[in-house]
Amino acid sequence: MGMNLRGKAALVTGGSRGLGEALGEALATRGAKVVLVARDAGPLAEVAVRIRERGGEAHALAFDVGDKESAHRITGAAAELVGPIDVLVHNASTLGPLPMPFLLDTPCEDLEAVLETNLVGPFRIDKIVGGSMALRKTGVIVHVSSDAAVSGYPRWGAYSVSKAALDHLGRVLGAELGEHGVRVLAVDPGEMDTKMHADAMPDLSDTERAALAAPAAVAERIALMIEHVETIDPGARVVVSNWSAPV
């Protein structure tokens, strides 16, 4: 028995484009009540409208996950609109200033800002939602990671550090919440054809770009992972292209 997403309340950050938008669609298609969060109200509202036009349930909350004030605003408003959160997907993240600098050229303040959005922001929301999930003995938390979390690529410093820490946040949280029925995963989606990827690597050739995965295909697999979460070790880090659903 996996998690049936029909009627479940799902909160997805970074929902205005790319993988977040695709995850919103994938979860809504499976019958989840989806709340999307992003900073830019306009594009975010368009995504929610598109999902609703296709018969799904989607709500848009324009908040910045890197802002301390936003955490309870996001979780409170989301729970009011769709009920206690069953599925929490931390997809929002920032690369920091572009083009991405060497670490020695990265201002400390820029590192702090990247950690605030990619690590502390998700932690704040995990703290709020995790307690309710533990009380209800159900829930899935997904931290969207990157292979930069495990490899030391030059110029990816601030982002890499934040994603490595986010992976480990998920491991410990998974160990603490596992016996309360809450599953935590770090998911490495692989390289996708998104704006973020283009920001990080603007000089790709058309051939190289064509080889990137489509966010919709990756989102489908992550939704499938959530449905089969009980087959994945608590707190595990999963690479999307290496994972297949149990038969």
Partner: protein, 344 residues
């Protein structure tokens, strides 16, 4: 009113959001007539395997929003809920000023009639128009004109929790949420649950004590208006999940204790009605049918809270417990210390 209860101001209020582990615990064992102080980490050991703890998982609303009427008069609205599918919710109105003035000394709020407009939110970016659709004395019904998503998000961006005259630094939303809170149904914090952190939840379960939930939309504790306050608590909505009903019923069959965290949980469990709202007032005359213990805050003896506590223990034991805690400097009100009453 309970004649033997301590007079008001027995427990000085906690004046800031103290760390959760600073909370002191008074334990009153009714059958043994015992009163003592314990540490909060002892809580699981004070209960037995098979006992059930029921918490109220309502999150606290950003209930206090400021704005103005169409005539430009300043107004504070204290929302009793966020707008529902119909865009409507109820609120209590307050006049100019803020929490630094005790509510009973605030100027009266502007008069509002059905059809009047109020503008909620002080920043122009987040200004929401609402129409008065019900007008009582100071209790009004509002209909927000924007989509529900926008209205809820804006009220979160503009609102803050209800503030208290005895807490000078503004309380933020994170100061008034319980660890396990989810849906924002509570106009003020269900504060009995404040010391129940994740370590407590984890230790209780490892000790074999079930921790289950209900959601109770606790209302305002005070409006500063004697006539309105006399009618508190107003009708409040609650929801008891079926699994909670089953766990509680099984504990009763097995002769185990059912411990309510907070008076709102007592009221919901004792209402036992299929109609999911309650205005039940509980006092010393009430025979408790479901709940056999209570974890609560320290409150003065002149409140509906003190009346409810009197249903759990004889008046002389209650008076002794209050004296004991008062002499030891227990703090009262929302962010104060705790009391566990283990019923007979």
């Amino acid at each position: 009113m309970n004649a033997l209860a301590v007079p008001s101001n027995t427990f000085p209020p906690a004046t800031y959001a103290r760390p959760l582990d600073a909370t002191r615990l008074l334990v009153v064992h009714v059958a043994r007539g015992e009163v003592r102080e314990a540490s909060f980490v002892e809580l699981p050991r004070l209960l037995a395997r098979g006992d059930v703890v029921v918490v109220n998982d309502a999150a606290t609303l950003p209930a206090s929003v400021f704005g103005e009427t169409a005539r430009g008069e300043p107004i504070e609205l204290r929302l009793l809920a966020l707008p529902g599918e119909d865009g409507e919710c109820d609120a209590v109105t307050f006049g100019a000023g803020d929490w630094r003035t005790p509510t009973e000394h605030r100027p009266p709020p502007p008069t509002l009639a059905v059809g009047d407009k109020v503008y909620v939110g002080l920043s122009s970016k987040h200004r929401l128009e609402a129409t008065i659709v019900r007008a009582g004395d100071r209790r009004v019904g509002l209909r927000f004109e924007r989509s529900r998503d926008e209205a809820v998000a804006t009220l979160y961006a503009e609102g803050r929790p209800v503030q208290y005259a005895h807490i000078p630094a503004p309380l933020r939303l994170w100061d008034v949420q319980n660890t396990y809170a989810a849906e924002p149904w509570a106009a003020e914090m269900p504060s009995a649950g404040r010391p129940v952190d994740f370590a407590t939840l984890d230790a209780l379960r490892k000790h074999g004590v079930a921790v289950v939930r209900l959601t109770h939309g606790a209302g305002l504790s005070s409006t500063g208006d004697g006539a309105l306050d006399a009618a508190l608590p107003w009708v409040e909505r609650y929801r008891i999940p079926p699994e909670t009903t089953e766990v509680v019923a099984e504990a009763k069959r097995q002769g185990r204790r059912v411990i309510a965290v907070g008076t709102s949980v007592v009221r919901a469990l004792e209402s036992r009605s299929s109609i999911e709202t309650t205005s039940l007032r509980i006092d010393a005359r009430h025979h408790l049918r479901v709940v056999s213990g209570l974890l609560t805050g320290m409150h003065d003896g002149t409140t509906s809270h003190a009346d409810l506590v009197a249903a759990f223990l004889p008046a002389d034991l209650l008076a002794r417990a209050n004296r004991f805690a008062s002499e030891r400097g227990f703090l009262g009100h929302e962010l104060g210390d705790s009391c566990l009453i283990l019923g007979a």
